[in-house]
Symmetry: C2
Subunit: 245 residues, 2 copies
Amino acid sequence: MNFPSNIFNSHSKKDGDFFLGISKVLGFKPKDVSIYKKAFLHRSANQKDKKGNPMNYERLEFLGDAMLGTIISKHLYNEVPGGDEGYLTKMRSKIVSRKHLNELGKDLNLIRFVETKIPKSHFGDNIHGNVFEALIGAIYLDKGYKYCEKFIQERVIEPYVDIEQLEGKVISYKSLLIEWCQKQKKEFKYDVYEDNGNDPLKHFGVRLTINGKQVAKARATSKKKAEEKASKRAFFALQHKIENS
Amino acid sequence: MNFPSNIFNSHSKKDGDFFLGISKVLGFKPKDVSIYKKAFLHRSANQKDKKGNPMNYERLEFLGDAMLGTIISKHLYNEVPGGDEGYLTKMRSKIVSRKHLNELGKDLNLIRFVETKIPKSHFGDNIHGNVFEALIGAIYLDKGYKYCEKFIQERVIEPYVDIEQLEGKVISYKSLLIEWCQKQKKEFKYDVYEDNGNDPLKHFGVRLTINGKQVAKARATSKKKAEEKASKRAFFALQHKIENS
């Protein structure tokens, strides 16, 4: 039997792995996978396109940064009708801060896709945020605005954007809840378990019980975040009781 | 005969005029005209929404600024494959400069729509750019991304974005052309005429003839721009001759 010669070579296996891995992160199949490859090409790899132009993720990062800012702006505009231009600008810069973007990229473990001549251990933290933005740029070019908005909604806004916390009005729902339980002489317990589900990210599940009764459950990419999420859910479920106590 | 009482009152006439005027600027009919009204509401008008939140164009300006940056970024990304992140950033900031946005707003005569308690003559130049950005924000909310992209393409990119000029490679096609004609001992003439067509903007048409033969025509919002545009067209039409002369 004759197989095409590249079926078993490592290049094609690597391409297939990239396609599967990136599809899982995206939640959809790329139309043009080469755009996503570019989103992880570090300048140290010294690659050039057919016309001899240097090829790396920096141009896509420029594009993704702009698009991310736009989607977050729209979200804030709709969520906070009373916020003026200054407020919106301040909140947006908190959400798209370098630190926050690095965290997002790290949670998705995007660095595993990076092509580089430099050992990955030599990179600083910013590589995570940079390729996260480049990935958004790649989605925009490959699939257009709608997919981009959905990705940012699911990967940034839903899991990470809590306006009250960003405003500094609520530091931590966990501490609010613990305080209330202690005042009310109620017993509380956070049970943590690993729960990866179908997600490409490692997830932790948390069950919060008060006086032996489960009041909330939550999943997140760290134990701390899952506890906070469960506490927030419990807080809103119990809000009436808490505010009158 | 009984007419609804508001048919003849000035409020309804004013609303109708706004709808027609803004539709002409947009090139399409608004779905929710109230969003566009907000785009021209100056803070001096002191208006509030139903919940008592201050209502003026500044929030829409925030949104429009972000969207304009994104569309221009995408345009530059596609048009200049060899430009790195620094180049793209620099070119974008030239295109969305305060001065340029003011010019765009002025050309569309957007100030006629502004609702304010301050005499319009007291405003500085920035009002033009501010409401231009707010208008983009309104389109984004009312009709979504696609309409926004089309509007920016037609109203910003096509008439105003010339990458070679922005790069400073070509200062003026008119001066290049005149220089060539003089060297070649050719007679040239720019004929200017008003040509508004169906456009809401005042337009000028220019016919450029060389040795009595028409070589290019162009329309633009000023005489100077139309001459430049016609010269550019003539330049590219004659490029072979010019480069070998």
